[in-house]
């Protein structure tokens, strides 16, 4: 695990408070970086707040405009109850408020479902999708929900530490865990416990239980889509991603070797390179033919 990956677990809000208020009165924290180029919006997931993306996007900021934000009930955004579907509405509201007509969307883990819902509801506003470690399956939500339920049970019976102990060896790859040793584990655990309350984690996990994979929704997505995953990702496999890509109208798969569920943590350079190549391919009008996966990923 690289230093920037570990550093990124820190809640480094710098006092700047740009907030967008949604139609139902929920204030969302956001950051915009970069002066020119296509807009790339990073949709945070349960454990990754908007500020963390700074550490994974330094190589993109010169040629792209980057938007990151905290979901409601996360980080510096307000806590306001809502169902999972509300996140796509929040994203639309934020883009409206910032005057962004069209954007690339980067989702990770459960937030790939937010991106999917947004792409179905607002296809004209999505230039492309980058779905990182997507827990999507043509076979439905059963497995993902069982995993989320086990995480919620761990949280409710053992608190945030039990949850962390459950997810740590899942979300990080074998290489990262071996190289980080107990020092990385203890430091990340301490920061995880300091940053996350039981109530906040429980609310987010319950939302994840609500989300439905609905494979048929994938067939309705016209946006060019990159399915990006580590080959040591607990939540998916290359064959599953190929099957998902087969449902999408225009998609490619790229696999990062010796990497777990969070490629931006473990392999930030490869992660950013994949995004840059994907955006360039789509902007050039030749996707998927002009997109060449870095490793052994399969062009679909």
């Amino acid at each position: 695990m690289k230093r920037e990956g570990i550093e990124s677990w820190d809640l480094a809000y710098d006092g700047k408070q740009d907030l967008h208020e949604t139609e139902d009165g929920c204030k969302l924290y956001y950051e915009v970086r970069g002066e020119s180029g296509p807009v790339v919006t990073f949709v945070s997931t349960i454990y990754v707040v908007s500020t963390a993306w700074r550490n994974f996007t330094g190589g993109l900021v010169d040629n792209h405009r980057l938007l990151t934000y905290d979901l409601r009930n996360q980080g510096a955004s307000e806590s306001k109850p809502a169902d999972f579907a509300r996140h796509a509405d929040d994203l639309r509201s934020l883009l409206d408020g910032l005057g962004i007509e069209k954007t690339y969307l980067v989702g990770t883990s459960i937030s790939t479902l937010i991106c999917r819902d947004f792409a179905v509801a607002h296809p004209d506003r999505v230039a492309g999708l980058i779905l990182v470690g997507p827990p999507l399956s043509p076979k439905g939500s059963s497995r993902r929900r069982r995993i989320a339920k086990s995480w919620l049970n761990a949280l409710e019976t053992g608190g945030p530490r039990a949850l962390f102990d459950l997810i740590y060896p899942l979300v990080f790859g074998e290489k990262a865990i071996a190289e980080g040793g107990s020092g990385a584990y203890l430091a990340l655990r301490e920061r995880f416990l300091a940053m996350n309350s039981t109530a906040q984690l429980a609310a987010n996990l319950r939302e994840a239980l609500e989300a439905d994979d609905k494979a048929e929704l994938l067939e309705r997505i016209p946006a060019p889509t990159l399915l990006l995953s580590g080959d040591d990702d607990f939540s998916t496999t290359e064959s599953t991603l190929r099957n998902v890509a087969g449902l999408l109208q225009s998609a490619a798969v790229e696999i990062i070797e010796e990497c777990g569920h969070l490629p931006y943590f473990e392999r930030p350079a490869e992660f950013q390179d994949a995004i840059a190549r994907f955006v360039a391919s789509v902007e050039g009008g030749g996707f998927p033919e002009t997109f060449v996966p870095r490793a052994a990923g399969v062009l679909v």
């Binding site: 550093e7 677990w9 530490r161 107990s182 203890l186 301490e190 920061r191």
Partner: protein
């Protein structure tokens, strides 16, 4: 013994986290004292590695969070380990 270990821990912390502390001495050593400093994960990891070197110990995953989050807790943990090693 624990007081001496605590003093060495504080000195070590003030050296490793000099940038974050910006010259401020570490005065709080009770429960959550280390957590309250809000060190980055990297700095905390560097401190843990420095503690390993200073006290000739190796952390393991089963260390309680009260040990990692508190200077006094860490000092007690180190003293207990030293006592066990001394027989």
């Amino acid at each position: 013994m624990t007081d001496d270990i605590l003093r060495r821990l504080v000195a070590l912390l003030e050296r490793v986290a000099a940038v974050e502390l910006d010259g401020r001495p570490v005065t709080e050593t009770g429960p959550d004292s280390l957590r309250a400093l809000g060190l980055t994960s990297v700095r905390l990891m560097e401190f843990l590695v420095a503690v390993e070197d200073e006290f000739d110990l190796i952390w393991d995953d089963d260390v309680e969070e009260s040990v990692i989050g508190s200077l006094e807790g860490m000092a007690r943990y180190i003293a207990e380990g030293a006592a066990v090693r001394a027989g």
